[in-house]
């Protein structure tokens, strides 16, 4: 057993961490203006856009991955555009994985953020504007701290979802050890190869680590908690 634990390939863990971190950061950065905008608009447009954001969820991840593979591959429209800008191919690369995970986890980040912005309402922003804070200042000194819990919910759901993500990554990333083989795929491979012990160990490591990280994140968040209203 100890032998198994020592001889396991831990690189997938590291790659998973990278993909999930990049994806989450990207979701937070790009998701913020999107969620701010969705929180502001009204009417039919809003309902449809909200639905569009939630759409990636309803396709099986492998199928979503397949369509992304087609679109982002060398012959696909996105892939060609990307290549014409002189970048190396998206598919089977970390960049591709991050983009795929981004799309797939988008609703988990956007929904809580949007909701947070709506709940906060205009009042705190009005108050900070009257106190001389510019738009950026308003966002960083008021909106961000007041919606911190929503950011946390969004970020943890998105992070956890990316860590467990499998179908999109397998399809788009190609299960290439050392490059795109994330831990979810590694566990899957062990199960496929009927190497149950290894699968159990990796799963246990994942669960314990996640439990630890999530507990700490939630615990710290509680401590800093702000109850609105």
């Amino acid at each position: 057993m100890l032998d198994l634990i020592l001889n396991l390939d831990y690189q997938p863990l590291w790659i998973t961490l990278q993909v999930a971190t990049y994806t989450t950061i990207l979701l937070i950065i790009l998701g913020t203006p999107l969620a701010l905008w969705l929180a502001k608009i009204t009417g039919a447009k809003k309902a449809v856009l909200e639905a569009v954001v939630a759409l990636p969820l309803v396709l099986p991840p492998t199928v979503l991955g397949f369509y992304l593979l087609v679109t982002m591959g060398p012959d696909g429209p996105v892939g060609q555009l990307w290549a014409s800008m002189g970048f190396s191919p998206l598919t089977f690369s970390m960049t591709g994985l991050v983009i795929g995970s981004f799309l797939y986890s988008l609703p988990f980040a956007i929904q809580p953020l949007m909701h947070g912005f709506e709940l906060m309402g205009k009042r705190p922003i009005e108050a900070s504007a009257s106190l001389g804070a510019s738009k950026w200042d308003q966002f960083f000194s008021i909106t961000l701290p007041l919606t911190r819990r929503h950011y946390l919910v969004g970020a943890t759901l998105a992070f956890a979802h990316t860590v467990g993500e499998f179908g999109v990554i397998l399809m788009l990333g190609g299960n290439i050890p050392g490059v795109t083989q994330v831990v979810s795929i590694a566990i899957y491979d062990h199960v496929e190869a009927l190497e149950y012990s290894q699968a159990h160990i990796l799963s246990a490591i994942m669960l314990v680590m996640s439990l630890l990280v999530l507990s700490i994140v939630y615990g710290v968040n509680r401590r800093l908690e702000v109850k609105v209203g």
Binding site: G76, T91, F92, G174, I176, L194, E195
Partner: protein
């Protein structure tokens, strides 16, 4: 060893049913030559779709002959590199011992029989073969109608279904039962009852390096061939592609 660090690694894309066996083979190969081998496991259809879009694999061990053929037609492989690496064999596995491995005696209505597991005939070659066998015994429609047919997405999942006791009996790749100690008993299925499960491999276009050639040579070596047979596969007859 020192030599190992200078060797270029090779990437193998492998269909799930052959993963465990290929893993063992490539570990031996690496030990012998110092050339690292990376295995990418996946469903044949998925790997095919990826290869069509430039996946960086060197060799592709498919679960059937169709996808390698399609790749050849598309000019995506090294000329003449397509070869049959094994022929799959189907076994009936009755885990509980309650059911005989003789399918002719199977009573579908028996309360002990909840599920019969086969791989999905639509996507998995072993599934297609299993369907032919069931049809031969006139069981396929019956099982389908009575919702007793559990379709594994691949043979691996079909194996899990029976191994965990969720299905009582199943038709699956012999290789799974040869390499793992399992409960119950199993029996080869008469090969005339299903069209041969030809599993082919190809070298992908531009990937014919000396390391790949070394691997192919190693794969064809006597020792490996014996190992394949032990693992529950039939060897391709000489001369058959």
């Amino acid at each position: 060893s020192n030599a190992a660090t200078q060797q270029k690694p090779i990437h193998l894309a492998v269909s799930a049913n052959f993963l465990a066996t290929l893993k063992q083979i490539s570990q031996k190969f690496t030990k012998q030559t110092g050339i690292p081998v990376y295995l990418s496991n996946g469903a044949t259809g998925m790997l095919y779709a990826q290869i069509k879009r430039g996946a960086p694999y060197d060799l592709f061990f498919a679960a059937d002959a169709r996808r390698p053929e399609l790749l050849e037609q598309a000019g995506l492989i090294e000329p003449n590199s397509r070869f049959t690496y094994v022929k799959g064999k189907l076994v009936v596995w009755s885990r509980t011992g309650y059911f005989s491995t003789d399918l002719a005696k199977l009573v579908v209505t028996s309360p002990q029989l909840r599920y019969f597991a086969i791989a999905n005939p639509k996507s998995a070659p072993y599934g297609r073969a299993a369907k032919q066998v069931l049809e031969h015994y006139g069981l396929y429609r019956t099982l389908l109608k009575s919702h007793q047919l559990a379709l594994g997405e691949n043979v691996g999942k079909t194996f899990h279904y029976v191994a965990t006791g969720n299905a009582q009996i199943g038709l699956l790749a012999k290789s799974y039962l040869m390499t793992h100690s399992v409960k119950g008993h199993f029996k080869d299925v008469d090969e005339s009852l299903y069209s041969p499960i030809i599993q082919q491999a190809v070298v992908l276009k531009g990937k014919k390096s000396s390391e790949v050639q070394q691997f192919l040579d190693f794969f064809r070596s006597e020792a490996v061939q014996v190992q394949l047979q032990k693992a529950g596969y039939d060897l391709p007859q000489k001369g058959v592609k």
